[in-house]
């Protein structure tokens, strides 16, 4: 870095350069040490800037509990990057522990509290030897289940480690460890814990909020003031770092960018991705500093001048940086945030309309107004000279532009523009919808549904109808249009068979008199769920939780996609759900026939098979085929 400063035209470092260097160390470099609590302090004192401070929803509760003298132990669980060490250290300090002791290399530290108790801190369970861990777990057990009131442990651990250690210990002691199951259930949110064991699961924080907090902590950091007096962004010069930071703050389109980013984070979370704070910091750092031509793909102030002279400011667009497009693919995919975002396919996914706009918009009279408004208005990252040139070259240029990879240049521009559109298209733009730029076309509807349920508002009829249609198509394998009822169908034999024409039972698409389908919010997972009840007997219902990807699956199937072509995982999940419903139907039937027996009508009489048939308009109905039993 020193040498690159030397090469720079201005002999004096730009005013914000030490802050940028500090921020840069949070980015997805191969060795982003700052993201480890252990290194932050040193980096801070070198940079002489204020730290990036984030509040933690758990911190206060944790400190209160420890200080209150409540008996029992504390477990701080989380994934790598959630801030386990940070929390553990903060608790240590708040209880009067010395920084010096903390920084010493040993993994177990003890602290005598003012109330006479002794706290044993384990800053990372995975660092302990078997003997150490046995001793710590023994203390944990005694302080939670036993009589140990003078000592307690504070253990920072990832989820797998503690469960594994407890299982292993249990096996060696020839018993089932009494704490293992409760802790496991607590991790999975399906059980409460002993009152003498406090669990702080850092991976369970709301992501959208964490993102907003990280954005404001970084983008509103006082050091940005220095940029105001920086020559690199004055007199018509555009500093991509400052530009990105301003756009992140809402200089263009207000909160649209951060809202959409929040949607991505939220949708990822509901799809089961966990994005630790460390990743969110890396993401925001990369959004601001990413540039494929910079050293380690992250800009520092000293490189901005060179980038400006080369005319490649636009390559640092934040819209690309969100997805780690500035990074080598492998490095990007090492981080769960970029991996999660890659599932949206933004840049590859598109609609005919928006691609038409991006390819022909500049010349086509019908499109030019929209082009001007949606692309042309942005001179920095939108209709830049290089983009227009590439477009012209592609449309009019020689043959070479279209064959032998000659179009690659334009296609990469196109991908970048699609990413940009995702973040900039207005909410109600009639012909271009931003979710159409993703693999989750229905994610907007999904988030709307989740919000409606959360606020106890009515579910949109269009959404319900589409879900029911998708459900019916998976259940039967037939292209049904019905949206008012749900067919629980079988083929007679295995549930797995693709086509099921035999209707076991049917129910209404909305809950009536305690039966039928209701769309509810699953309190455990925060997600909408389809709750279908087939009969009044207890245990006659089954629930299907909707993640964004499952929702997408049902919607796509409803709109004509083949179930097997979208996601095997979703299909399997739904077939399992179908099997459950069939089992409920089977049990209800056996209850009913048990009644019939008493009336002596089961053996004699008739058997009715309800075949599902389809009218010309796609509407399914059941046609009973009655068979007399003689």
């Amino acid at each position: 870095m020193e040498s690159s400063i030397a090469q720079d035209q201005s002999p004096i470092s730009p005013p914000a350069s030490s802050w940028i260097r500090f921020l840069r160390s949070y980015g997805p470099t191969p060795n982003n040490l700052n993201l480890f609590d252990e290194y932050v302090a040193g980096a801070l004192s070198r940079a002489k800037v204020q730290p990036i401070t984030l509040t933690s929803p758990h911190m206060e509760a944790m400190q209160q509990r420890a200080a209150s003298g409540a008996l029992g132990s504390i477990l701080i669980a989380g994934t790598a990057g959630d801030g386990k060490t940070y929390h553990c250290r903060s608790l240590w300090m708040s209880l009067g522990g010395a920084m010096k002791v903390w920084s010493a290399p040993d993994s177990i530290k003890t602290l005598d509290l003012a109330d006479g108790r002794r706290a044993v801190f384990v800053k990372d369970l995975s660092e302990l030897s078997d003997e150490q861990s046995d001793a710590v777990l023994d203390l944990l057990e005694r302080s939670v289940l036993g009589e140990e009131n003078t000592k307690f442990v504070v253990i920072a651990t990832n989820h797998g480690q503690i469960l594994e250690r407890l299982r292993d210990l249990g096996i060696r002691q020839h018993r089932v460890h009494p704490l293992r199951k409760p802790i496991q259930e607590a991790f999975l949110l399906s059980g409460g814990l002993h009152e003498r064991l406090a669990l702080y699961d850092l991976s369970r924080t709301a992501h959208r909020q964490s993102l907003e907090e990280v954005i404001s902590a970084v983008a509103e950091h006082p050091e940005w003031e220095n940029c105001q007096r920086c020559a690199l962004q004055n007199e018509g010069r555009i500093c991509p770092i400052f530009e990105n930071r301003n756009r992140l703050m809402g200089s263009i389109n207000g909160v649209r960018f951060s809202d959409r980013l929040g949607d991505l984070v939220e949708t990822s979370r509901l799809n089961g991705w966990h994005l630790p704070v460390r990743d969110l910091l890396a993401l925001v750092s990369n959004i601001i500093l990413g540039h494929p031509d910079a050293k380690e793909d992250l800009m520092s102030c000293s490189e901005v001048g060179r980038i400006q002279s080369a005319g490649t400011v636009e390559k640092g667009r934040l819209y690309d940086n969100v997805f780690g497009a500035n990074l080598p693919r492998r490095r990007a995919m090492d981080r769960s945030v970029f991996k999660a975002f890659s599932t949206f396919g933004i840049g590859e996914e598109t609609s005919n309309g928006s691609d038409g706009l991006l390819v022909y918009g500049a010349d086509d009279a019908k499109l030019s107004e929209a082009f001007k408004k949606l692309v042309g208005s942005d001179q920095v990252y939108g209709a830049t000279a290089t983009y227009i040139a590439a477009q012209q070259h592609y449309l009019e240029g020689d043959e070479a532009a279209r064959i032998d990879g000659g179009q690659e240049n334009f296609l990469s521009h196109l991908a970048a523009q699609r990413r940009r559109l995702f973040f900039t298209l207005p909410e109600n733009e009639p012909d271009y919808h931003y979710w159409d730029m993703t693999a989750f076309r229905y994610a907007g509807d999904y988030l709307e549904l989740a919000e409606a349920l959360f606020e106890r508002k009515a579910v949109s009829e269009t959404i319900r109808a589409r879900l029911v249609r998708g459900l019916n198509r998976v259940m039967t394998g037939l292209l049904l249009e019905n949206s008012d009822r749900i067919f629980v169908a079988s083929s007679g034999g295995f549930t797995q068979s693709r086509i099921s024409v035999l209707c076991d039972t049917q129910t209404t698409a909305r809950r009536q008199g305690g039966l039928g389908m209701a769309i509810k919010l699953d309190p455990q997972t925060d997600r909408p769920a389809l709750d279908i009840i087939l009969g009044h007997a207890p245990g006659s219902g089954a629930q299907f939780t909707l993640s964004p990807v499952r929702f997408e699956f049902l919607c796509r199937v409803a709109e004509g996609a083949l179930p097997g072509s979208f996601s095997n995982e979703c299909l399997e999940d739904l077939l399992a759900f179908k099997a459950k419903l069939l089992r409920k139907a089977e049990r209800l039937r056996s209850l009913l026939t048990a009644d019939d027996d008493e009336e002596g009508s089961a053996e004699e009489g008739a058997l009715t098979l309800n075949f599902i048939e389809i009218e010309k308009d796609g509407h399914g109905f059941t046609r009973p085929s009655t068979i007399r039993i003689v």
Binding site: T79, S203, I499, C570, I627
Partner: protein, 509 residues
């Protein structure tokens, strides 16, 4: 230990595995034969009484199977625009042409049940769509309707101009052995009760439909007897394992017809392990059976050659068992006594005959066994036994492991263990009660079935430098990803995932 089995040239494999396991009787055929036995013993299912042979008179259901699998005319007749009356008449004429003459010439009774010919055709279509191998080119008398209930069961038959006979082509007693095995398991009676309760409910709609087509059941003419001596082990850990696996599957919250699919796969896997375990035990190998499984992923894995070797080793183990079982007679004290007697040839021959039911007594054979020395007799039998073994017993490992989805040639030249999705699903549904930590699941697969997938289970292989640890842990991750794709794994964080049984157990919700 005389075995005395009629119509068998000699008894060797029969001592090791029983009479008998048969390669072409794939697991679903085994379970169907088993259900036939169970159906006939519904009053006292899977009773373990070593003093009484199991008897059953299987159903034959000639009309039902004829309607389903020897009746190509229904569709053509249905599609004609003729009046209903004509359709029935035309179809009956056509059907009669191919009928067997065993109470299947007069099908008028169908008209009393089905209001229209189309209804009748539709019902047949439905039953065919769920039957086993409906579209295969097997003879029609070896095709089977789904075992919806007691009326849907019947035995495999050869039906031709000569009449009806058991040629034991696909029901070769493996299902009978399965019945003995499960009846000897500790929890056999409980399983018997459950199976009868769930699979022999005559009132379920599909069984009633089958009954309408069949009318009164048609039985075989003679009672079949399953000699208790046909299964050489009074108890065996594998019998208990299989029985408990079946009980677990039946306790899940799934329709019984889906459970059946898993029962079949589970039977196949446990029978295969029984086959390998007995073979190993008889060839003097005390190590537990171990199958290194490659989890196929997009990228080539280093486990492939190891799983191929593991497969190949098992291919050879049964023949080795046959050879060493025969040769072990030479180590018996009686053999030494015989050799030292005044008539060593005669005494050895006597011993051979007692043990192996061979050489045949009083037959005018080309071979004159009477004059052979003891070791020549043994060598002679080894040759004969090897060549008989090769025909069927020796193919069991490859046929069954392929049929349950345990072995595969996908992306490779040779066979190796590479479980498919269906098998993995059965394993999860069997092993996991509700949820289980992923590592524990791997451990359980190893403990129960000798399946080696991850680095913890294959640690000894790493130690022997057969494979590097990284390759095994990659294999482990591939499994996690596969199960995730099947909706069977829930990831808590990058360090921790759980295998979840989507059908946990009855009574939830």
């Amino acid at each position: 230990m005389p075995l005395n089995i009629e119509k068998v040239d000699f008894t060797v494999d029969e001592h090791i595995w029983g009479h008998r396991l048969y390669d072409e009787q794939l697991p679903h055929l085994t379970v169907l034969e088993f259900l036939s036995v169970l159906g006939a013993n519904r009053a006292n299912p899977l009773a373990n009484d070593r003093t009484t042979d199991v008897r059953y008179m299987p159903q034959q259901q000639i009309r039902l199977r004829g309607l389903l699998f020897n009746n190509p005319y229904v569709e053509t007749v249905r599609d004609r625009g003729d009046p209903d009356e004509d359709k029935w008449r035309d179809w009956m004429e056509l059907f009669k042409k191919d009928a067997t003459g065993r109470d299947d010439l007069d099908m008028e009774y169908l008209r009393k049940s089905f209001l229209t010919f189309d209804d009748f055709a539709k019902a047949l279509e439905l039953l065919r769509s769920s039957s086993f191998e409906a579209r295969s080119n097997k003879r029609w008398s070896s095709k089977f309707v789904f075992p919806f209930g007691p009326d849907a069961l019947y035995e495999d038959l050869r039906i031709d101009s000569g009449g009806v006979s058991n040629d034991r082509r696909f029901f070769a007693r493996t299902g009978e052995l399965l019945y003995l095995m499960l009846s000897r398991a500790s929890n056999g009676r409980e399983l018997g009760k459950k199976l009868v309760e769930r699979l022999f409910d005559a009132s379920v709609p599909m069984n009633r439909l089958v009954k309408v087509l069949q009318g009164e059941p048609q039985h075989a003419e003679a009672t079949k007897i399953i000699g208790q001596r046909y299964l050489p082990y009074e108890t065996h850990p594998r019998f208990d394992r299989m029985c408990d696996d079946w009980l677990a599957i039946l306790s899940r919250d799934i329709p019984v017809y889906d459970a059946l699919e898993h029962l079949i796969t589970s039977a196949g896997l446990n029978l295969l392990l029984y086959f390998l375990e007995c073979a190993k035990a008889h060839s003097g190998d005390d190590e537990p059976v171990e199958m290194v499984c490659e989890i196929i992923s997009r990228e080539r894995t280093k486990i492939r050659s190891l799983s191929g070797k593991s497969y190949q080793a098992h291919q050879a183990v049964s023949e080795r068992a046959v050879v060493s079982f025969i040769e072990s007679i030479k180590l018996e004290p009686e053999w030494t006594v015989a050799l030292e007697s005044s008539d060593p040839e005669g005494e050895c021959l006597k011993l051979m005959r007692e043990r192996f039911q061979w050489p045949p007594a009083g037959r005018d054979d080309d071979d004159d066994y009477e004059r052979l020395r003891g070791d020549e007799l043994v060598r002679n039998l080894v040759e004969k036994a090897k060549s008989r073994h090769d025909q069927h017993f020796g193919k069991i490992h490859s046929m069954w492991s392929k049929s349950i989805g345990l072995s595969s040639r996908r992306l490779a030249r040779g066979n190796r263990y590479a479980p498919n999705d269906r098998l993995l699903k059965t394993l999860v549904i069997t092993v996991v009660d509700e949820r289980m930590q992923f590592d524990e699941f791997l451990h359980e697969l190893r403990r129960r079935y000798g399946i080696v997938i991850g680095d913890a289970e294959g640690a000894h292989l790493v130690k022997q430098n057969l494979v590097d640890q990284e390759a095994l842990s990659e294999n482990r991750s591939n499994l996690e990803a596969r199960l995730l794709g099947l909706g069977l794994v829930r990831r808590l964080s990058d360090s921790c995932s759980f295998v979840e049984n989507p059908f946990a157990s009855e009574g939830k919700n």
